[in-house]
Symmetry: none
DNA sequence: GTATGACAGGGGAAAAATCCCCTTTTTTTA
DNA sequence: TAAAAAAAGGGGATTTTTCCCCTGTCATAC
């Protein structure tokens, strides 16, 4: 059977064979009109470049981010420069805002989390094939916040005094508050005041969670 | 068609829906004798515990390691204590020697990397179903090295008991030791013993530096 | 000028963490 | 299977942390 419109060629770039093979099954499952053709698979950006040396080229590429050697960012960047007409749909388990934003800025047509429903994946493929854009919830959110100049309700960790930062550096050590006071040439009671203020502002309940907060938010380095 | 032997019930524990669904397709693909039945899926250890509250129980569980909340290690530990007859086949992209070894020590029946061939996955399932063991290359290598007494100056954080790891996860929260004891169904005095032992082994002097150590050495995730 | 708020400091008590030394139970191993 | 080694638990004391309420100082805004 020969369809009027030629099939759409799809390529998969992901470093886990089991995931690629499963994804192929899922794509075919939803491809009731038999319009998709899996052109090739690659394990990483390097493998992709290899396959892209000569035609045929895919119309759509499903791309993971975390891969050995040449990762998704590099691969997408390279694709946009060398084959700008190819539509890229990112399929990744990465949920960090930074990385999502970076991918969107590179101009990908879609961003899917790996824990979406199969139907959503089909929908995304369909949309992208028709020159649309498809972002899963988490990516949409990130996008909106950044378009609307949501400068982010200034993180509480943004406005710390110098003394408070110094105090936090010492909080993650094995010094007692009394020793910290001594080192900072302040009264233990003043230190107690810093502690109390930080507990409230950063919404933590004890010294340990304060230390964890400081580390997690990069206020102190390990 | 009714087979003489009842079907083998399989459960999948992995936090990525797309991977689970793909894996199901791949399992069915190789199941020419139609002997496997996917009993349920779970997103993490918590979901697994939920499903394991009452029969029917699976015969084999395919388990990922990295999952939110209750991870693969905890889930396997729990399973071995509560349902020791269930066969566990780890399917993970984790390739760190430490973690592979830890899983093997927990007594899993098999260890598969996510980038194996589909046929190998079928083979592994078959082998485990028949009371065998199946380790993919990387796991076999790790196992051999350690059997041959390639000791490796093991980091003190390498040989922590499961209870100690669980304790460390709770140490970085705002729970008191009393609450931790309660949650782990142990006496506060036992928890105090864990604390003391870890202080000495990891050379730290208080709860805060213990938490910092655990974070710095990747024993707990933020 | 005075109010307001941020910063430094204090008293005192309750809660939690830390330490030291010891017993029982369970598991491993020789 | 007896001995040894972990693991679990306990008593009790000391130190540290946490909390609440309160005083003075200084600057800055009104």
């Amino acid at each position: 059977m020969k369809s009027a419109t030629p099939k759409l060629n799809i390529a998969l770039v992901d470093d886990h064979n089991l995931f690629r093979k499963g994804l192929i099954k899922l794509i075919n499952l939803g491809d009731t009109q038999n319009k998709y053709n899996i052109l090739f698979e690659a394990e990483n950006g390097g493998g992709l470049k290899e396959k892209m040396k000569e035609p045929p080229f895919p119309d759509i590429i499903l791309m993971d981010i975390e891969m050995p050697d040449i990762d998704g960012f590099e691969a997408v960047d390279w694709l946009q420069r060398t084959h700008p007409s190819i539509k890229i749909l990112v399929v990744s388990m990465v949920e960090s805002e930074d990385k999502i934003l970076r991918m969107l800025r590179l101009g990908v047509k879609g961003y899917l989390s790996k824990d979406i429903e199969v139907e959503d994946m089909h929908q995304a493929l369909e949309t992208v094939a028709n020159n649309g854009f498809y972002y899963s919830d988490i990516a949409t959110e990130v996008l909106n916040q950044n378009l609307n100049g949501v400068v982010k309700p200034s993180h509480p960790s943004a406005n710390l005094s110098e003394n408070e930062r110094e105090f936090l550096k010492l909080v993650i050590t094995d010094m007692t508050y009394y020793q910290i006071a001594d080192k900072m040439n302040l009264s233990p009671k003043t230190i107690d005041g810093y502690r109390e203020a930080l507990f409230q502002r950063l919404k933590v309940k004890n010294r340990t969670t304060l230390a964890v907060y400081a580390i997690k938010h990069g206020i102190v380095r390990l």
